[in-house]
């Protein structure tokens, strides 16, 4: 699988902190009622696949958003709780959390994207975000292309979780390393 599980786990930790949910109390219903939009180059994103598989397992609804070149219809078939919405503003209207992705230009090989058109349709900028005041958390796994998928104003703005995501990467990866180096848990023990 093209996945990035440690990123999805640190993203989950960031989301739980935002919602005020303690990690130890997480159940498959914890994110019920939460809608999150992942927007951008989903075709080439391991981050998008891992989050799209993880978050619905905790009850979240995940909207995948982007142009057909970067978001094929089959994307919604990889797991439950996923929908595709081509119109970013319609997706934003339903979302409390958004996750922006950069266009991975190094992987486009032969795909042609009109970047001016892309900015108009899919950029997270202050003017667009201000029209959706219910959006409380703006995420991005980095690296960011400022001025492309997200403006500096939004990336550094009050709803940005980007720095928090980076710092959450440290304890999550420490935990993963500790777990990998620990003896296997006994059968029947909580995972």
């Amino acid at each position: 699988m093209a996945e990035h599980p440690s990123q999805a786990l640190l993203d989950l930790r960031t989301i739980l902190q935002f919602l005020g949910i303690r990690s130890s109390t997480v159940t498959e219903k914890s994110l019920r009622g939460v809608t999150l939009t992942i927007c951008g180059d989903i075709l080439h994103s391991r981050v998008a696949r891992s989050n799209a598989l993880l978050l619905p397992r905790l009850g979240a609804r995940v909207i995948l958003c982007g142009p057909p070149e970067l978001l094929p219809e089959v994307a919604a078939s990889i797991g439950p709780g996923l929908t595709i919405e081509r119109d970013f503003d319609i997706a934003l209207r339903q979302s409390q959390i958004i996750m922006m992705l950069r266009i991975q230009a190094e992987r486009l090989v032969g795909l042609h994207i009109d970047l001016d058109d892309y900015r108009i349709r899919y950029q997270a900028n202050a003017e667009r975000i201000s029209r959706h005041p219910h959006i409380g958390l703006i995420m991005h796994p980095g690296p960011i292309i400022r001025g492309m998928e997200i403006t500096a104003e939004v990336a550094d703005g009050p709803h940005s979780a980007i720095a928090r995501q980076v710092s959450n990467g440290v304890p999550i990866r420490m935990a993963l390393v500790a777990r990998a180096l620990s003896p296997a848990p006994k059968k029947g023990a909580p995972q």
Binding site: A2, L43, H44, R46, V74, V109, G110
Partner: protein
Amino acid sequence: MSPATTASPKPIIIRGGRIIDPATGLDAPRDLLLRDGKIAAIESPGRIKAPGAEIIDAKGMIVAPGLIDIHIHLREPGQGYKETIATGTAAAAAGGFTTVCAMPNTIPVNDTPEITRWMQAPERGAAVRVFPIAAATRGSLGEALTDYAALKEAGAVAVTDDGKPILGDSIMLEALRAAAKLGLPVIQHAEDTRLTGGCSMNAGALAFRLGLRGMPVEAESGLVERDIALLKQVKNGHLHVAHLSTKKALDAVRDARKQGLHVTCEVTPHHFALTEERIGLYDTNAKMNPPLRAESDRAAMIEGLLDGTIDAIATDHAPHAAHEKEQEFDRAPNGITGLETALGLAIQVLHIQHKMPLAKVLALLTIRPAQTLALKPQGTLAPGAPADVVLFDPTEKWTFHAVDSRSKSKNTPFDGCELQGRVRATISEGCVVFGQ
């Protein structure tokens, strides 16, 4: 051209076997006498007397015409680290093949009579007969035709730009016309490469999950349909579709046949035995072009083999060195070896799972490929035909281990695979070139 032998071998009597020769419809206990590189006699058990002949006991065995593979890559000239004509044909012999057709994507490309002759020279040490297939255009660049008459004269049995499909309408039409005048087939690797840039597997949900670019089935079927449309404009033209892999392309071939067009096609063992799921977690030994497809396409290949639309089983044996396959999936080269597993897979999948009579399975590996590329007099055990014979035990179960392969390369998805039907001896023009 002929197997690496010096003196004329001793006569051989193959005694006590069940002879299946799909070309003549024979399926009965018979003894076979091989002399001077030819089938000398085929008689009821015990009737052949030939003093001084070597006797091969074929009790419990099927004795059939040596198998014919019309699509393999021998990598010589130019890429001897992957395979040589000697090692590739040794693998062919181990798989029961006595005739192989070598694709022209060598380095340099086989686009001249000189290279075509070089490949057939005794110095190459071929264990079995090699028929070169020459490039259809110079350098396989799709721009200017090669000299078909001279290539045919030098021994080429068909023309193709395999791996670099001929996309231009006018050059493909020219190729079909020039080949038709000489009675040569034009073989097309049907892939519209304008639709497959950066692709490394079949398009679909699995490709998305794996994060790989997928080739749509239309990239294959679209070019087959285009080629068929061009063939309609050519008198006596013959189009042969290499390694067909999709239902849509097979349907196009079936329709063209109904219209009376001379369109033939082949399918590989991996396309009737495996689906894209075999890629698992990026196993580059399951990467080839055309890619492994969905189950519905695999089922269509079986149907096409059963109903006769598919003319031949061909392996597309494509050896690559371990260091080339051991890299990221989308960077690894396309292709797998296949000569030593073809018969076992055909028996396992077609005969055992799908109840295809053995004579029909063998026809797809002998007389039908011979007819497809007009390789007379190969493909039969009729007296006077070349003494090309395979002996195999149809009931023996065995495990294929890539490490034991005679090929220089070990890139196969069938390593460790249990197969039924094991080659016991292969005889090429009267010489035992493989025996176990």
